[in-house]
Amino acid sequence: MTAPVLEATNLSKEFPVHGRGSRGTTVKAVQNANVTLHKGSIVALVGESGSGKTTVARMLALAYPQTAGTIRLNGAEVSHARNAERSYFRQVQLIFQDPFASLNPLHKVRYTLGRALRIHQRTLRGKELEEQTLELLRKVNLTPVEQFIDKFPHELSGGQRQRIVIARALAVRPSVLLGDEPISMLDVSIRLDILNLLAKLRDEEGLALLYITHDIASARYLCDTIQVMYAGQMVEGGPRDSVIQSPKHPYTKLLLDSSPDPGRSLRSGDTGLFDVADDLGEPPNLVDPPSGCQFHPRCPFAMDECRQTFPERTEFPDGQWAHCWLHQKDRGHVLEGKP
């Protein structure tokens, strides 16, 4: 395989907790996460709400510094110095979850995209600027482009706004796009269009994409590699089909069992679509997380080891991996049957 574009190793983030009597305590939002993105390929990061997906994306986008771990862009370690950040932003762009919050309501599309273009092409103006702005709109299929360029965000639908957000990210000609649940706030009817747009960007522009979702069905539709996150830890990952067909972690299996059939869910119009069922129990408290594997209180196969130490990574022949004591103890076969 070619060298990765963006590679994060052992990334951790702790947020200080504010309030009385909580001095020095932290929320362990992400622990030792690894993410590797390759050109022309989509990695899906799947996990329920609160598992730390947004925190991973924001660390990768340098919105805030990581507590521990390293980020490498094209092999070079990333620093948080001002100038280094600017050149990093040119390569890596984040698409926010909420298209209603991520566009300044006071600016027209023309301004937003124009600024994005001019930040890294300072001399761009006039006809050339207009032409490039229209080209961006064309790239995200907002046609007729002349009609959209002078609109304010409030004149656009959620899907159209999200396309503008994507266009803004594309304006700097990045090599990596980080999508933080880019379709979760959109109408069901246009989710598939946005996913197809992302797939097109991967195929035509050769972008490396991180697609974050709480819904494994959309990950199955779009991505090449899946990584599953639980309570701040990466529990399993690997090629899409292997993970979907033979999950190696009980949590992944639970997610898959409670997820609707992908074909049906992407096309049917019911609103429960893409939502992981709620019957998975309670996620742990990240201020004082359980010891060992975070999933053990909910795991039907929990053993003594699970309560004490987090398991090593087990690698499988086709590139799949998992952090689960079952494989360390050669009991992986129990996952084949019904839990």
Binding site: A61, L62, A63, E85, R86, F89, R90, Q93, L94, F96, D98, A101, S102, L103, N104, P105, L106, H107, R115, A116, I119, H120, V165, R168, A171, V172
Partner: protein
């Protein structure tokens, strides 16, 4: 956004009153000398302390000056001091509050401590002392002193607003595009504060007018020039209340009160706009009410 402001009737009325006073302050002295052919100090020996009449629409003071001429010319003294102090206070508030909220860190700690220091000072007492110390100061000195005690509240509001806007997705998104801090402040953050800043400005303006009136009333304001405060002060000094010369002190008092009401109206209106849930619900209710009233009317008529 600005359109939204002007569509609100409270804001429109308030701003209208404000504009009227501003016009009065600008053109008043010219109007008095060119149209009324008098000055606020001209003495009419035939009418000492006379109630309103055709010749003196608002009556005369005990020494025989025309009250209307005094009120019109006094608008300049009062409003200019108010506006100057408001401009100064707003600029200082923005210069302290916005960087403090946007940049955070040690600068924020320093500026917040500085603001709090001013906030806890007994401002009017100190204004009084300083104004008394620089006896007979020019009007702009008075404005400067008032502004010095007017800005801290605004700085605190702007700091917290800036902090919240700095963390909003659209600002973060532009920052992660590589936008400079200056542009983030001026293009992404500040435009969202026009409502607050204009409300702040008007409030500071009226506070300035009040403070000026209070200082003049106590006899330590500007000397020589006429303002609403000096008129009331003179009326008080010559026992206008005891002698029943109400036309002497009521008009300048009303002007001050009207200006205060205008600010309150604008502030209510801005509140309504920036709290859309409240206003939308209100508007919907009002519409339904009006429609109900309209449909009910013919039935009653029948």
């Amino acid at each position: 956004m600005l359109n939204g402001f002007l569509r609100n009737s409270k804001v429109r009325i308030g701003l209208g009153v404000f504009a009227a006073f501003l016009l009065l302050a600008l053109l008043g002295p010219w109007f008095v000398s060119a149209v009324m052919h008098t000055t606020p100090r001209t003495i009419d020996y035939d009418a000492l302390g006379q109630p309103p009449s055709a010749k003196h629409l608002l009556g005369t003071t005990l020494p025989g000056s025309d009250v209307l001429a005094q009120v019109i010319v006094g608008a300049r003294g009062s409003v200019f001091v108010g506006i100057t102090s408001a401009v100064l206070a707003t600029v200082i508030a923005a210069l302290v509050g916005v960087p403090s909220g946007f940049l955070g860190g040690r600068l924020d700690h320093g500026l917040t401590a500085f603001t709090n220091l001013f906030l806890t000072l007994p401002s009017f007492a100190l204004t009084l002392i300083i104004a008394g110390y620089v006896q007979g100061a020019a009007w702009w000195v008075i404005a400067l002193i008032i502004a010095a005690f007017e800005w801290p509240g605004g700085a605190r509001t702007l700091r917290s607003q800036t902090m919240s806007l700095r963390g909003r997705d659209f600002t973060v998104a532009m920052r992660m595009l590589g936008e400079s801090k200056t542009r983030l402040v001026f293009a992404e953050v500040m435009p969202h504060m026009t409502g607050i800043v204009s409300a702040m400005f008007l409030r500071a303006c009226v506070a300035g007018v009040f403070a000026e009136a209070a200082l003049s009333f106590l006899g330590i304001g500007t000397t020589g020039s006429v303002s609403w405060g000096t008129i009331i002060s003179e009326a008080q000094g010559q026992s206008a209340i005891l002698n029943g010369l109400w036309w002497w002190f009521v008009p300048p008092g009303l002007c001050i009160a009207l200006l205060g009401t205008a600010t309150a109206l604008v502030n209510f209106g801005i509140d309504e706009i920036s709290n859309p849930r409240l206003s939308a619900a209100n508007r919907k209710l009002m519409k339904r009410f009006r429609r109900a009233a309209r449909t009910a009317e013919p039935e009653v008529a029948r």
